[in-house]
Symmetry: C2
Subunit: 553 residues, 2 copies
């Protein structure tokens, strides 16, 4: 049997993505061969030309006929960003809250998929029956509106899939975490809690979004002169509204800069948010205003290369230029892996005389994920028999397991992507592992992250490439041309000629003999030429570049 | 005048490296055309095939006859690591403390330079006269022994060059910071303090090395079962000795693993350290011992790819294998930019069941750099007229300036690499900027970091390469062969053939006409072929690879 076709009785859980790093959330729940999926997210990895990464399509392809529905917990890219690439495989209905539906629609319109995808808006407390599964969306506070946990009732028991969540007694915009509902499920008996691990290294919960708003307003009111810029996650509507309030209270115009903020404004208004705000001011109009009368919100809090903030920092933004004594506020935290990119932006701006305030300086950010304190609060409400940590690097999942173990949860399974976890009689264990892994979205193609393409690019990146054209005729073999990319500096003309001469003589010397009277094996010849070229470069420059060989007659 | 030849009266300071990022420390002090250098360090940047980075040799080449001496503050790589590459330009005597001299010797022996370089051992309180400059080495506490600040007396006044330093009342091994001496210079009047900025974002100073030792011993004594590994900076002899003490007090054998630890052991013994320790146990002998009776110290606390720890984490170390419930202690902190590499190692080890303790869990690391508290203490002792922050990213230098400004220092200059700072009458200002920048040590060559080679590698890394061989004869032009690296997955044979056919037809269609009756311009033809190939790839795959074209007749 092909291992990625999964065919087993009872209740099973497979993290297809989401248990091998932050992002790429995609989970399957399976009961007697009926599959439902939860989330279909992208991951962030811009190395070696990847635009983004998504979970491997393989498990979905092999089991596509069994997949009955996709449930979306909330609208963040790491939960919906893979839909355009993977939904066409499964072609099942998608259930989501209204704001997430609008965000997905907006995304699909860029892929010409808007009309094909059956998107179903659900409300909290609706129960959706799909085969043996009944799914209820439960409100949770998070850094984007209408975020949900899912109560998944199966014949084998109830699973609480937490989604991304926190406890916030005053989230400003959107509902609080519905603790009462979770408690009710807890009283019925929750078989397993499948739970967010992103923020497990923090012990104490962040302040409420209300406090962040208060601090932002205060901070901005104090600064009467100069331009102020704020960067935050675009999808955090509450934070955006807080920035708007701060602008209003300090007599500044509220300006948004960056494509994803414009998209969020559009979708938010479609979903009934910001109804009392006429319109955010477009950047083009902002430039003619007194800088001390504007508050500019821009994308790029993670140092993303093409973001508005990155362009502003590098002085190449088409409308916004900063100057000495401007202020930039990072109302965000740095996602692990982005530290250097964020630092580079801060360096460039500081060189321009811009002052910078981050969440290390004052409380102007609150995470949307649960700290230890909040996790224990949830355990207490849900009283799960089993805990499976998801959504994190391995260090997060293991730390989460430790917190749960210390709390007293006995049955904890730390899984990796592709693991098949089977539930039975209040027990869970890994019974198998399917092939999965990440694929790079690379231009318009999907390429396996661990395959040959990225390995080859890694070599190209580290040592450059030599392309060699060799003429092979009448028993003689001669170098015609040698071209190099990513090896020689412009000043090294002499070195290029020297090495080219070495390669030419070595080809003549070593290979003429081989050719005498024989019809040569082309691939063998090419491999010999690659080998001798690498040896010459290694001796001359201490590196073995990638070598491409053309044989012409 | 060539701008990089610097010829001006009076006292000047040029950071050649060290003011545009942590690392690459290389500073010039110039008085009436007499130059002395302080430190000659490397920087860390392994991207695009760089082994390491060093400051541009250009300023040194242009002024080599004027450079009279190189003073080394201490033995860390970011202060001595560029000597093998840059000393051969200046060929001046090198003054350093005995431990640094031995470390430099060891390094030079790998470059066949041991006999050439005049290395002069100095003691604290010696005064070295070089032309108009008198230099005194002042003891400072830091994370490697015999670290120094330099009091540089010139006809224009006294400059205190801090080196890397901290205040530690019980550094365990090596001397404390000689506050009395600094105070004496302060009383004479210090014109300028040129000062370490690495740790400016910390307000309060770290505990002493003695406390770290106490905590390490306690932590290790508690764990009676299983193997314990510790990773720390190899050159921190005090920390190594602390690990040794912890091993002894807990009845474990002390084992070191990794090339740089073996080197440090050798050099330390040469310099009279560890004399009471017979010998550290080599890893080969450790494998036969009961894991619960060993304490293994290994390199790799920054997630370096070829370090012992990285190999252990990936299960490819030749002698050390970890197993469930082993413990790894990070007695270190993560240098900005290395977060993801360290996280990847932690992920791999956790997957093997290894428990991990870092300096976030308990106080098992102390930085060797000054916090705000220590900086203010130094200002108070030295009472400098001028402050120039060095050794940091821009964010560090500006934060340092803010601390100094708030303390009350009036004349502060935040400079970048290449800036010429001129001192006169208790004032300092940037009067010029020379060309500098980083060079990559790339195999056996030096390549400018901002030049074409790394730009080309960036493109290769992001989109791969197509090499095309085109035959051009009798007025007809035909594709002979198309080879691709870093573009197609193994499964894409059909796609390769399709695109090859497209390129072949397009070449025939667009270029045959151009050739009719004319003798073609080779470079123009190549450029047209590159263009049309890129267009075809962009349409088919959404990416424009690097294209190499061979024209044969």
């Amino acid at each position: 049997m092909n291992k990625n076709v999964y065919n087993i009785k009872g209740l099973n859980f497979i993290p297809i993505g989401g248990c091998s790093g932050v992002g790429m959330n995609l989970y399957a729940y399976i009961n007697n061969d009926q599959w439902i999926l939860v989330d279909m997210g992208m991951g962030f990895d811009g190395r070696l030309g990847k635009d983004l990464i998504i979970p491997s399509p393989e498990i979905l392809i092999k089991n596509k006929t069994k997949i009955k529905a996709l449930f979306i917990t909330h609208s963040h890219e790491d939960h919906i960003g893979a839909i355009p690439y993977l939904w066409p495989i499964v072609k099942c209905p998608i259930y989501a809250q209204p704001f997430a539906v609008e965000m997905i629609k907006d995304k699909l319109s860029q892929f010409d998929l808007s009309k094909e995808v059956p998107l179903i808006k659900v409300s909290f407390n609706n129960k959706i029956q799909v085969g043996d599964f009944q799914v209820e969306f439960i409100s949770v506070a998070h850094s984007t509106p209408e975020s949900s946990a899912l109560a998944i009732t199966s014949p084998e028991g109830i699973i609480l899939h937490s989604g991304d969540w926190r406890i916030d007694d005053d989230p400003v915009l959107g509902a609080k975490t519905d603790e009462e509902k979770i408690k009710q499920y807890g009283e019925k008996g929750i078989l397993a809690l499948i739970c967010d691990s992103t923020n497990v290294f923090r012990d104490i919960k962040y302040g409420s979004e209300r406090e962040v708003r208060k601090n932002l307003i205060e901070l901005i009111k104090e600064r009467k002169k100069n331009r102020i810029l704020i960067t935050c996650f675009a999808s955090n509507l509450a934070r955006l509204e807080s920035c708007y309030c701060a602008a209003k209270e300090s007599g500044r115009e509220f300006v948004i800069v960056g494509r994803s903020l414009k998209k969020i404004e559009r979708v938010a208004k479609l979903s009934g948010y910001f109804s009392e705000i006429s319109a955010f001011l477009d950047e083009k109009k902002a430039n003619s205003l007194d800088p001390s009368k504007t508050l500019i919100v821009c994308t790029g809090s993670q140092g993303e290369v093409n973001s508005a903030l990155s362009k502003i920092a590098n002085g190449i933004h088409k409308t916004i230029q900063v100057q000495k004594d401007d202020l930039l506020i990072f109302s965000s935290r740095v996602i692990p892996g982005n530290e250097k990119a964020v630092l580079d932006i801060q360096n460039s701006l500081m060189e321009k005389g811009v002052n910078i305030i981050t969440d290390l300086d004052c409380e102007i950010h609150a995470s949307g994920h649960p700290s230890k304190e909040e996790l224990e609060h949830l355990y207490n409400l849900a009283k799960p028999n089993i805990l499976i940590p998801i959504h994190g690097e391995k260090v997060h999942l293991y730390k989460h397991a430790e917190i749960a173990r210390n709390y007293g949860i006995k049955n904890i399974v730390v899984a990796k992507d592709g693991d098949v976890i089977s539930f039975s009689a209040n027990e869970a264990k890994i019974v198998d592992t399917l092939n999965t892994g990440a694929f790079g979205v690379d231009g318009s193609k999907l390429i396996p992250v661990n395959g040959g393409v990225y390995k080859d690019r890694e070599s190209l990146a580290s040592s450059g490439v030599v392309s060699i054209c060799v003429k092979c005729a009448k028993g003689a073999i001669r170098l015609q041309e040698m071209l190099c990319v990513g090896i020689f500096d412009e000043s090294e003309e002499v070195e290029i000629t020297d090495i080219k001469n070495d390669v030419a003589s070595e080809i003549k010397l070593s290979l003429d003999g081989i050719l005498k009277g024989k019809s040569p094996d082309k691939e063998k010849l090419k491999s010999l030429i690659r080998g001798l070229t690498k040896t010459i470069f290694a001796a001359a420059r201490g590196k073995k570049p990638t070598v491409i060989v053309h044989l012409v007659e």
